[in-house]
Symmetry: C2
Subunit: 313 residues, 2 copies
């Protein structure tokens, strides 16, 4: 099924009352370094600290009333667990979160803060899927995948729609690539709301499954994923991959040093806290700056949830 502009617009209107319209920041110093005009869409200021709030909210609001009241279930130990918990809390439905026993206590605590109901299980994917399945059967809750779910993808795309509403002059939007939800949604937004705008992805060299997937034409996975951009270790799925294949122009890979250096630039110069995954998009632009001179480029800052006791500086 092809997604239309009206459908995307409907999603934005639907979630608008429940999310922040995040600001777009600029930095003349970073523009000078990159030789481009950069517009940072700051989802680190989104509720719960990341864009995932958009997709989680849309997934719940897309359910028919009788299903919605029974709640939602997901397996995640990261931002999506928190996002689904907070979105569910705001919409007054239960969120069941399957987490590996081995997940850090701080992540479990964050989910509990948002009143997510945690079920722990062994850390294999099989165990997590079986546990989620059992909860679905017991409670009637609907499973929501963190990135490979069309309503989640459309929700994530609303950040790029807002960015294009504020800056219709953008030539390029760059998004980090992890599980594929954000970049797929952004690519759809660019297609329908951009004016000769293209969508490009940034990905760590150390977890370049999406780059390889675009080359081979099928979903590839990472044998290892030794990157500080811990939100980008996951692989694409069958819902978002076709969108990425059709609508993402290219993926630029960056080294760990390039990510760290871009991260430091954002922290030091813009005075905002962003997660390493967000720095990947800026690192990609700086790496290929010769190609992008004087372009107007939107950067999706994916989030700002970092462990301050464990920084890469």
């Amino acid at each position: 099924m092809e997604i239309g502009k009206t459908q995307l617009k409907t999603v934005l209107e639907r979630i608008k009352p429940h999310i922040h319209r995040t600001p777009v920041l600029t930095s003349s110093l970073i523009n000078e370094i990159a030789g481009t005009n950069l517009y940072f869409k700051c989802e680190n200021f989104q509720k719960m600290g990341a864009f995932k709030m958009r997709g989680a909210t849309n997934a719940i609001l897309s359910l028919p009333e009788e299903k919605r009241s029974k709640g939602v279930v997901t397996h995640s130990s990261g931002n999506f667990a928190q996002a689904l918990s907070l979105a569910a809390k705001s919409l007054k439905v239960p969120a069941y979160i399957v987490m590996p026993e081995s997940a850090p206590e701080v992540k479990k605590a964050a989910v509990r803060t948002y009143q997510g109901i945690i079920t722990e299980c062994p850390s294999t994917l099989k165990d997590r899927e079986e546990t989620a399945k059992r909860i679905q059967e017991e409670t009637g809750a609907t499973f929501v995948h963190p990135s490979n779910d069309i309503d989640v993808i459309l929700g994530q795309g609303t950040a790029a729609i807002e960015l294009l509403e504020d800056h219709p002059e953008l030539d390029i939007i760059v998004s980090p690539v992890g599980g594929g939800g954000l970049i797929a949604g952004s690519a759809l937004a660019v297609k329908h709301f951009g004016n000769n705008c293209i969508c490009i992805g940034g990905e760590p060299l150390e977890a370049d499954d999406a780059w390889r997937s675009l080359k081979s034409g099928k979903i590839e996975s990472n044998e290892s994923a030794n990157t500080i951009a811990d939100g980008l270790k996951t692989q694409l799925g069958n819902q978002n991959f076709p969108i990425i294949l059709n609508h993402v122009q290219e993926i630029i890979r960056v080294s760990e040093d390039e990510i760290k250096s871009a991260l430091r630039l954002i922290w030091e110069r813009m005075k905002i806290i962003v997660e390493p995954s967000s720095a990947v998009a800026l690192a990609a632009v700086i790496k290929e700056k010769n190609r992008f001179q004087n372009k107007n480029i939107g950067i999706i800052i994916s989030g700002g949830n970092v462990d301050l006791s464990n920084l890469p500086f």
Copy 2:
């Protein structure tokens, strides 16, 4: 000489083309913790990363043309050295910066970035003053003190004017207290632009010279200043102390743990980078939260220049 409302307004109009009008941010989570409505005036987003850009710009613009062209001189190893250098650069006049030989290389490099002309000297106050004096004589440059100069004080006060323009409903504005320039300027702004608003200071217990000065009625100094709020170690001066004595309602002292905890709250929840000095104002409100319930409180976030390789987390 008593400062009038017109004079303050003139200062704001004069420096406006040369500074950023910084945003005012809020956090519903921090409001919940403090039980108040907090409005953070984000001078960490000011040019060069701190409010000092305001005072430095006003000091230079206040000079008659024939003096202005000969430039300005100051002794500082901190934010004011950078602020005066950048303001002078923008206004196309030379800035002579006297710095102790022992100052960290990173601070010297920052001044050079803004084209400040550095003269190094031994680190005693006497050496610094004599070196500045010599440069004045040799170049005809005007000495500008980082905090004890009426034009600097009036410039710093413009942050609070803007905050009150955006939020005339404020009951209290809280500013950190270091050398006294920011709080004196803020107090004048509150007096002339506030509606039944009062000005309160926040100060580290470990460098509580201003708190003691308000008690004794004369300028006190710190024997030691073992605080992470390194911008607040300096003492008041004869220009700003009378203003503080007359127009600052009270100073609230906070412990190092209270500063660190407020700092972490701002970083983690607001996703912005602020210096420890800025956290002192929030720490003061949280410490006395029972007195401030449901008040509308403005917090001056003084700046965001921190050494990322040396964080207190």
